[in-house]
C-alpha cells in the first residue's frame, strides 16, 4: 500500500499542497481530480521523489521514502508517467523502453531485458513495429503508449498516471483505459490524474477532489460523480469538455473497457 500522510509541498517558498492524505491499494484505481493548478501534478511529484515535501510522510509498502531521490522510488515499485508524456524524442522507441528499466538494468541480462520489452509489447502491440523509430516521430497516441510502456518497464506495483488521455482521440483513450483495467486486474495500484473528471470518476474505485492543494471531497468514483459539491464546483454545468451525449457515451465505453 502507498500511504500519503498530511503532506505539505510546494516550489521554493510557496506552498501548493496543504496537508494531503490518501492511500493507494494494490489492484485499485484511485482518481485525483481538480481544476487547473489545483496541485494534482504536484501530488504525483511528491510520490516519485521529484519534489521533496515540506512536511508529512509517504510510505510504500510500509517503507518510508519521504525525501528520497527518484531512483529509490522506482526501485520501491513506483512508476510515474509524467504530464505531457515526456518521451525521449531523440532516442529510439526501444531505447526509451530500455531506460524505463534503467534502475534495474545493471542486474538484468539481455534475455531479461528482452522479456520485459516483450511484456510491454504484449500490452501495447502498436509499439512493436516502431521499436527502431525515433520516439519524436510517433503520433500523440503512440507517444502516450510509449510513456506508459516505459513506466511499466520497471515492473511497478504502483503506477502514477498524469493526464494520460490529454489530447488523444476517443479510440486511443479507450485503449489506454483498457490497459489501466488490465493492470489493475493484475494487482497494480493506479493513481489516475485526469483533467477530464467524468472519465476518471467513471472508472475509479476511489476518488478525491483536490482544490487549491486541499482534498475537499473523497469517496467512490460514483459518489463523487453524484456529489453536489463536485458537480457544482468542479464538473460544472455545460463545461464544453465534459457534457453532452458524446462524452457520456465515451465514459460508458471506458467503463466497459475497464470491465466495470
Amino acid at each position: 500500500m502507498l500511504t500519503v500522510q498530511d503532506v505539505w509541498a510546494g516550489y521554493g517558498p510557496s506552498t501548493v499542497l496543504q496537508g494531503v492524505s490518501l492511500t493507494l491499494e494494490p489492484g485499485t484505481v484511485v482518481a485525483l481530480v481538480g481544476a487547473n493548478g489545483a496541485g494534482k501534478s504536484t501530488v504525483l511529484k511528491t510520490l516519485s521523489g521529484l519534489l521533496r515535501p515540506q512536511r508529512g510522510r509517504i510510505a510504500v509498502d510500509g517503507r518510508e521514502l519521504t525525501g528520497r531521490p527518484p531512483a529509490d522510488w522506482v526501485r520501491a515499485g513506483v512508476a510515474h508517467v509524467p504530464e505531457g508524456r515526456q518521451v525521449f524524442a531523440n532516442l529510439t522507441v526501444a531505447d526509451n523502453l530500455l531506460l524505463g528499466a534503467f534502475s534495474a538494468l545493471a542486474r538484468l541480462g539481455p534475455r531479461q531485458r528482452q522479456e520485459r520489452v516483450e511484456e510491454v509489447l504484449a500490452i501495447f502491440p502498436d509499439l512493436g513495429p516502431k521499436l527502431g523509430v525515433l520516439a519524436g516521430s510517433l503520433s500523440g497516441g503512440q507517444q502516450q503508449m510509449l510513456a506508459i510502456g516505459r513506466g511499466l518497464m520497471s515492473q511497478p506495483r504502483y503506477l502514477l498516471l498524469d493526464e494520460p488521455s490529454l489530447g488523444l482521440a476517443p479510440q486511443v483513450t479507450e485503449t489506454i483505459f483498457a490497459v489501466i483495467g488490465r493492470l489493475r486486474d493484475r494487482g497494480v495500484g493506479i493513481l489516475l490524474v485526469e483533467q477530464n473528471g467524468r472519465l476518471a470518476l467513471a472508472v475509479a474505485d476511489r476518488a478525491h477532489l483536490l482544490e487549491k492543494g486541499v482534498i475537499t471531497v473523497s469517496g467512490t468514483g460514483a459518489e463523487l460523480l453524484a456529489n453536489q459539491t463536485v458537480v457544482e464546483r468542479y464538473l460544472g454545468v455545460g463545461s464544453p469538455l465534459d457534457d453532452g451525449p458524446r462524452p457520456q457515451a465515451l465514459a460508458e465505453r471506458l467503463r466497459r473497457a475497464l470491465g466495470r
Binding site: 521529484l50 527518484p70 522506482v74 525521449f88 524524442a89 531505447d95 534502475s103 545493471a106
Partner: protein
C-alpha cells in the same frame, strides 16, 4: 603522397580536440571553450612527469588519471549551473579558459619544450604512402576515440541515459537516472580525451603556451563542418578540414591555407545547418 599523411594527421588533431568538446556537448548541451587550454595544461603535466624521470607510459598513464580528476573537479565547478540554460554554463567555461591560459607561463615558462614520445621518430610505409609514426599514431588514436565514443552513446546504458537527460531531464530522473553522477563520467571522459590529444599532438610539434590556439580553431570548424552531435561527424569534419587546409597550403599562397577551409565550412553549413552528418534535432515532444 606526404600530403595524405599530413591531411589525415592534421585532421586527427582537430578531431581529438573536437571530440573532447563533443562529449560534453552531446551529454549536456554545454560548449566547453576551455577544452583547448585543458589540452595544453595536460600536455605540460605529462611533460613535467617525464622530466621527473618517469618512464613514458607511466607518465602518460598518470597524466590520464590527473586528467580524469581535473575533469571531475571541472564538473564540480560547472554543476551549480546545471539547471541554467547551457549557454550560461558555456560562458562559465570561457572564464576557465582565461584562468588556464594565464596559469601556463608562470608555471612552465613561455619557451617551447619538446615532449619525447617513444613513437616520435619512426616512419610508417603503407603501400606507396609514407607517414611519420607520430602522424600514424595520431590518426589511429583519433579513429579509436571516435569509435569508442560512438559506441558509448549508442550502446551503453550510461550513454543512452545521458542522451535521455538531454531530451528530458525530469523524465530521465523519473527513470532513476542520476544526472549529477553522470556529469562526473562525462567531464572525466572529456578531459581524458583532452590529455590523449595533448600526448598525441605534442610529439608532432612542441609543447608551448599557445600550442592549442590553432588546433582549437580547427576543432571548432570541424565540429561545425561535420556536426557536433555525432562522433563520426566530428571525425569526418576534422579530416575534411585537415585535407582542405593541407591542399590549400600546398597549392595556394599561404594566406589561403586558413581561409579556404573556413569558407568551405561556411558553404557546407549554408546547405546543411547541422553539418555533414549532424541531424536536425527532433524537437522534443
Amino acid at each position: 603522397m606526404e600530403l595524405v599523411g599530413l591531411s589525415l594527421s592534421t585532421g586527427a588533431i582537430y578531431a581529438l580536440v573536437g571530440l573532447g568538446m563533443a562529449v560534453i556537448y552531446q551529454a549536456t548541451g554545454v560548449f566547453n571553450f576551455a577544452q583547448g587550454q585543458l589540452v595544453t595544461v595536460l600536455a605540460y603535466v605529462g611533460l613535467s612527469l617525464l622530466r621527473a624521470h618517469w618512464p613514458f607510459f607511466a607518465a602518460a598513464g598518470l597524466d590520464l588519471v590527473f586528467a580524469q580528476g581535473a575533469g571531475m573537479a571541472l564538473w564540480v565547478l560547472v554543476r551549480p549551473f546545471r539547471t541554467r540554460p547551457p549557454l550560461v554554463t558555456s560562458m562559465a567555461t570561457l572564464s576557465l579558459y582565461l584562468v588556464l591560459r594565464d596559469l601556463v607561463v608562470p608555471i612552465w615558462g613561455a619557451d617551447p619544450l619538446v615532449l619525447p614520445a617513444p613513437w616520435a621518430h619512426g616512419e610508417w610505409r603503407l603501400g606507396g604512402m609514407a607517414l611519420s609514426s607520430a602522424q600514424g599514431v595520431a590518426i589511429l588514436v583519433a579513429a579509436l576515440v571516435a569509435a569508442g565514443m560512438a559506441a558509448f552513446f549508442r550502446r551503453t546504458r550510461m550513454g543512452i541515459a545521458l542522451r535521455a537527460v538531454r531530451d528530458h531531464p525530469q523524465a530521465a530522473s523519473l527513470m532513476g537516472v542520476d544526472a549529477d553522477r553522470l556529469g562526473f563520467v562525462v567531464f572525466g571522459a572529456a578531459t581524458v580525451i583532452g590529455a590523449v590529444a595533448g600526448l598525441v599532438l605534442a610529439p608532432m610539434t612542441v609543447v608551448a603556451p599557445t600550442m592549442m590556439d590553432e588546433p582549437t580553431l580547427g576543432a571548432f570548424a570541424a565540429l561545425v563542418l561535420g556536426g557536433i552531435d555525432t562522433p563520426w561527424g566530428v571525425l569526418l569534419g576534422a579530416m575534411g578540414l585537415g585535407g582542405l587546409e593541407t591542399v590549400a597550403g600546398y597549392y595556394l599562397a599561404s594566406i589561403w591555407k586558413e581561409a579556404v577551409p573556413l569558407l568551405a565550412v561556411l558553404a557546407v553549413v549554408v546547405i546543411r545547418a547541422g553539418g555533414l552528418l549532424g541531424g536536425e534535432e527532433v524537437p522534443r515532444a
